[in-house]
Structure formats: structure tokens, C-alpha cells
């Protein structure tokens, strides 16, 4: 029993990332509200980022910014730096994440303009109800707009 506990305790941060990822993933696929889905996506992605950042961690390491102490040249060899590469990757990934969020939100606004709701089942019901006429109707409407 204690072994299992030790095993869990030793990597407790990893288990928390896993929990976060599962929460986010669950929200993405199970929540009916579109905004909730996007929130879930954000949580999922940040959890992955957290995993990356924790990979970079080195015990006793400092941020990867070169220190210029009094004897600058030597300092670089004495200080332990954390691994900079995951940081770079995550900088990029954060940008990707915010871009995806922006596009998703724009889509949500568009959906709300058409269906008047951001609940998945309401939209689904609406589409089902209007299925035969709706596409035709929408087309005429679009032509009218032009």
C-alpha cells in the first residue's frame, strides 16, 4: 500500500496534469455549451503545456537567462540552467492556442447569429426541424443579401 502511495506521491505533479487534461478533454467532448467546449480546450492545452514545462525543470536550475555576475565569463559554467527548449516550444504553442480560441469564438458568434443559441442540442434540434427547407432557405437568403 505504501509503495503505491509513494509512487503516487513521487510524481504527484504528473497526476495533476493528467487530471487537468482529463477535465479539459471531458469538457470538450461532453459539454453541450459551445463556450464550455472552448474553455475545455483551453484547459486541456494549458495542461499539456504544463507537462512540457515540467520536462524542462532541473533541480536547482535557474531561468535560462545568462547571468552576468561580477566575473561574467565564469558564471555561465557554475549556474545550472533549466532546459530552454520546451519553453520555446510552449511559447509557440500558446500562440497557437490563443489563435484557435479566437477562431472558435468567432464561429460561436456566427452560430449565435444564425441559430440564436449556443447550446449544441438546441442547434441540433433547430437544424433537424428545418432540415429540408433550411438549406434552400439559407441559400435564397444569401442570394438576397448579395
Amino acid at each position: 500500500m505504501s509503495e503505491i502511495f509513494e509512487f503516487i506521491a513521487a510524481e504527484y505533479n504528473y497526476w495533476i496534469y493528467v487530471t487537468l487534461m482529463m477535465i479539459g478533454f471531458y469538457a470538450m467532448i461532453a459539454k453541450k455549451n459551445l463556450i464550455k467546449k472552448v474553455i475545455g480546450a483551453n484547459i486541456f492545452q494549458t495542461a499539456i503545456f504544463l507537462f512540457y514545462i515540467s520536462l524542462a525543470e532541473v533541480e536547482g536550475g535557474t531561468a535560462p537567462i545568462l547571468m552576468h555576475g561580477h566575473d561574467g565569463a565564469h558564471a555561465a559554467h557554475e549556474v545550472i540552467y533549466v532546459n530552454p527548449l520546451p519553453h520555446v516550444l510552449i511559447l509557440t504553442a500558446i500562440v497557437v492556442s490563443v489563435s484557435t480560441t479566437a477562431v472558435a469564438l468567432a464561429l460561436i458568434i456566427k452560430i449565435y447569429q444564425v441559430y440564436g443559441s449556443i447550446e449544441e442540442d438546441v442547434i441540433l434540434a433547430y437544424r433537424k426541424q428545418l432540415a429540408p427547407e433550411f438549406s434552400e432557405h439559407a441559400r435564397q437568403k444569401q442570394e438576397g443579401e448579395q
Binding site: 470538450m28 499539456i48 507537462f51 516550444l89 484557435t100 464561429l107 444569401q142
Partner: protein, 505 residues
């Protein structure tokens, strides 16, 4: 070094960067004159096509090209690698891109008259994303370009049918984000156990871990598989695909159906064979076996669902699901013949499906009809368009003399070589199902009751829409009769290399 040589060195890079820069500059080009946009896209796509051909030619004649970005040696910096596999896929991307570009002139002017500038900008960025995913030899760079292509695809799909298009796009976005997150997670796992991001470097570092039965590597493989399966719309994970293809604007459908899934499949191959090793994927984990069965299931179920559709684009979308099954089946068989069949089907399916979606778009452009039961008399009204549909449709069925036959034949042979009779039967059964759903359309196009269609006047789509369709149809027949050339020069050595040890990227 002469100026020409200097340019030639950079061609692999420029294949990606040219459409990227052109996409950035699109707002400025459009600011000068909106009419310039299309010509700009055409010029760029033509140049990209030339560069992609030049890449492939160089690969065939002199071997794999390496391009170190920023001059940094691979594990330090990012590297572009072009071998036969991605040279081949790049050429397809460039070619289909050009065709759809030509086609888009009229269709976009009608469908999105006041959004031409951002449309073409996104169009070029989509090409960039796909090219970048294909050429890169760096696993994280791959992810970045994957996102470029995904974001542009979401935008393009959302431009389609009011309401439906947006919902389809949103569902795709959610699924796509799940897929991308899985892929990112997989990349993270591989990074955690190897410390590298370069594909070739990884392939060298990973085998030690297989022998220790490292669980992280296995999980990474699983996440990649699921992620890419979502991206290509493999059967149990295909839910986003039909809506997205159906409700996108016709240009976007053609582009996405023709290219997005192909590049997804390419990525799957690349990861299976060039990041992991075939030995790992096929023998140690037997992941490929699962893939093959899923593919077989996709072939049948995709075809059956296609029969149930009355919207032509939705029918084509389901048929895409089954065709993706063909490609993956060939890859999963992992023998020389099956592999060639699968790879050949990437080329073939791009031609056929693109042509079919373009036809569906042209019909919608002219008549506003997408329901196949309202197609009566179209054979008289739009003879060229419907003829293209006939050729591409026969191709999908797999009539000999068209491209569909050669790949089907190879896939059947490959299955037989593995002793998997069931897959042979699956392939043949699906061609019968293909007949059912395509023939329904043929019947409606040409065999309406004569008195109903007697008075119809010929009214073809504009020439700029016809040209790409006719070219694609012609290629469907050309490569049906001369499949020897791609097979002999590209796919045979490629399959040998992939099966052999996995080519280093």
C-alpha cells in the same frame, strides 16, 4: 556559384515560404486592386508547382535533399528533408492547389463576392500549412504547420452554407483541436524520452527504448494514431467529416477533400515509418494491424453510408471516408505491393475526389441543386461537366483504364500476398457498393424520363471552371493507363525504402 544555382539551393524552402509570403502580401495586393488577387494566386501557385516538380526531380535524380534552416545542424536547428515520399505528396498538393485555384475564380466571385482578399489569403496559407507539414523534418515544426493548415481549413469551411457551414466548422475545430492536442502530447512524450525533436535523430534514439518496452513510447504512438485518425477521418472518428465536406464552399470542399486528408495520411506514414520504425509499429505493438482492420471497416461502412445520402456532396464525403480506408489498408498491409497500392491511391484519390467535388460545385453554381434526385436532364444541360463526373465516378468504381483500378488492383494483390482474403473481398465488395451510389447519379443525370428533359438547353459552367475539371478527368484516364510511371520512378523505390528499414527523413 551562379545566381541560378543559388536559387536552386533554396528551392525546397521556397516551396513553403513562397505561398506563405504571398499570403501575407495578399492584403496589400488586394489593396492595389481586388482583381489582382486571383492572378497573384495563380502566379504563385504556378511557381510553387514548378518548384515542387523541381524538388521531386532532384530527389529522383540525386537523392534526398536536406535543407538546414538558419544554417544550424539538425538537432540544433530545424531541418527540411525532401525524400521521395514528401516530394511526391508536395507535387500533389501544388497541382491540386493550382487546379482549385483556377476553378475558384468564378465560384468565389459568386459565392463570396466581398471577401475575396481574406479568402485568397487563407487559401495560400492553407497551401503553406500543408506544404510545411509535408516537407519538414522536425516534429514540432510539423505541429506548427499543422495548426496553420487547420485554422485556414476551419475558416474556409465556415464560409459555406449559412449556419450549417459554421456549425460544421465548429465541430471540426473541436475535433481538430483534440487531434492536435493529442499530437502535441505525443510529441511531448517523445521529447521526454529522447530529448530531440528531429525526426531522424529520434529514429536513431528510439530503438533502445523499444527493447526496454518503454511505456511512454507506446503511449506516444497511440496518441499519434488517434490524433491522425481524427485528422484523416478514419472510420470510428469520422463524425466531423461529412458535415464539413458537405457545407463548405465548393472550392474549399475540393481543396480539403483533395488535400487535407491526404496530408494527414502522409503524416501518419511519416510517423509510422520514419519516427518510429516499421519493426516497432508492425511487430512489437501490432498497432498497424488495428489500423488495417479499422481501414477495412471504414471502406465498407463509408460506402454503405454513402448509398443512404441524397445530397451529392455528402455522398462524396462518405465515399471519402471509404477511400481513406483504401489508403490506410495499403499502408497497414506493409508489403511491397500493398504499400504501392496505398501510396498510389493517395495520388489517384486526390485526382478523382477533387474532380468530383469540382463537378458538384459547378452544378451547384449553375443550378443551385445538390440533391441527386433533381439532376434529371443535366446530361443535356451541362455535357462537359457531367462527362467529367462520369469519368471520375467510373474511376472511383475502379473500372480498368482509370486510376481507380490500378490502386485497387494493387491493394487486392497486396492483401492476397498477406493471405488476407477477407480484405480482397472487402475491396471488391466496396467497388460494388461504389457502383450502387454512383450509378444512381449517372441514371439521374442521363436517364431522366425523356419527355421531362426534352426542352433543356445547353448551359455550361464558365470555362475557368471547366478547365481544371477536364484536366483532372484527363489525368484520371492518363494515370489509369500509364500508372507504370509513378510506380516505377517513385513508388517502387519508395515502398522498398519504407518497408526495408524506414527511410531516415
Amino acid at each position: 556559384m551562379s545566381g541560378f544555382d543559388m536559387i536552386m539551393v533554396h528551392i525546397p524552402l521556397l516551396t513553403v515560404v513562397t505561398p506563405l509570403i504571398a499570403g501575407f502580401l495578399m492584403p496589400i495586393v488586394g489593396w492595389i486592386d481586388r482583381k489582382l488577387c486571383w492572378y497573384w494566386v495563380m502566379a504563385i501557385m504556378f511557381v510553387v508547382l514548378l518548384m515542387a516538380s523541381s524538388n521531386l526531380y532532384t530527389v529522383i535524380t540525386t537523392g534526398t535533399i536536406h535543407y538546414e534552416l538558419g544554417g544550424w545542424k539538425p538537432p540544433v536547428g530545424i531541418e527540411y528533408v525532401i525524400d521521395l515520399l514528401n516530394g511526391f505528396v508536395c507535387l500533389i498538393i501544388a497541382f491540386i492547389g493550382l487546379m482549385v485555384g483556377i476553378y475558384s475564380k468564378e465560384s468565389i466571385t459568386k459565392e463570396l463576392p466581398n471577401k475575396i482578399i481574406p479568402f485568397y489569403s487563407v487559401f495560400l496559407l492553407l497551401i503553406t500549412g500543408l506544404m510545411g507539414m509535408t516537407i519538414t523534418g522536425d516534429i514540432f515544426n510539423f505541429y506548427v504547420f499543422l495548426e496553420i493548415s487547420s485554422l485556414s481549413a476551419y475558416a474556409l469551411i465556415a464560409m459555406g452554407d449559412r449556419g450549417d457551414g459554421v456549425v460544421a466548422s465548429f465541430n471540426y475545430l473541436i475535433m481538430g483541436t483534440v487531434a492536435a492536442s493529442f499530437i502535441l502530447l505525443g510529441i511531448g512524450y517523445l521529447y521526454a524520452v529522447t530529448g530531440s525533436l528531429n525526426m531522424a535523430d529520434m529514429q536513431n534514439l528510439l530503438p533502445d527504448l523499444y527493447n526496454n518496452n518503454n511505456k511512454v513510447v507506446l503511449a506516444a504512438l497511440a496518441f499519434f494514431m488517434v490524433g491522425f485518425s481524427i485528422k484523416v477521418g478514419l472510420f470510428p472518428l469520422h463524425a466531423w467529416l461529412p458535415d464539413a465536406y458537405t457545407h463548405a464552399p465548393s472550392t474549399a470542399s475540393a481543396l480539403i477533400a483533395g488535400l487535407m486528408t491526404k496530408v494527414g495520411v502522409y503524416a501518419l506514414i511519416r510517423f509510422m515509418f520514419c519516427v518510429f520504425t516499421p519493426a516497432f509499429v508492425f511487430d512489437i505493438t501490432r498497432m498497424a494491424e488495428i489500423l488495417t482492420w479499422a481501414a477495412a471497416l471504414a471502406i465498407i461502412i463509408g460506402s454503405v453510408l454513402a448509398i443512404a445520402q441524397s445530397d451529392i456532396k455528402r455522398m462524396l464525403a462518405y465515399s471519402s471516408i471509404s477511400q481513406i480506408g483504401y489508403i490506410l489498408l495499403g499502408i497497414g498491409l506493409a508489403n511491397l505491393i500493398g504499400m504501392q497500392g496505398g501510396l498510389l491511391h493517395i495520388l489517384n484519390h486526390a485526382f478523382m475526389k477533387c474532380a468530383l467535388f469540382l463537378v458538384a460545385g459547378a452544378i451547384f453554381y449553375k443550378t443551385g441543386i445538390r440533391n441527386i434526385y433533381q439532376f434529371k436532364g443535366l446530361g443535356k444541360k451541362m455535357p462537359v461537366t457531367t462527362l467529367v463526373f462520369l469519368i471520375a465516378g467510373l474511376s472511383m468504381i475502379g473500372i480498368p483504364g482509370t486510376v481507380g483500378f490500378t490502386s485497387k488492383y494493387y491493394l487486392a494483390l497486396g492483401s492476397l500476398e498477406e493471405g488476407m482474403w477477407i480484405f480482397v473481398i472487402v475491396i471488391l465488395l466496396s467497388s460494388l457498393l461504389n457502383i450502387v451510389y454512383f450509378w444512381r447519379v449517372f441514371d439521374n443525370i442521363w436517364f431522366g424520363h425523356p419527355h421531362e428533359v426534352e426542352h433543356i438547353k445547353q448551359d455550361e459552367a464558365p470555362v475557368s471552371m471547366l478547365i481544371p475539371m477536364v484536366i483532372l478527368a484527363a489525368l484520371c484516364i492518363f494515370f489509369g493507363l500509364f500508372a507504370y510511371y509513378p510506380l516505377h520512378y517513385i513508388l517502387e523505390p519508395l515502398s522498398e525504402a519504407l518497408i526495408g528499414s524506414g527511410v531516415g527523413p
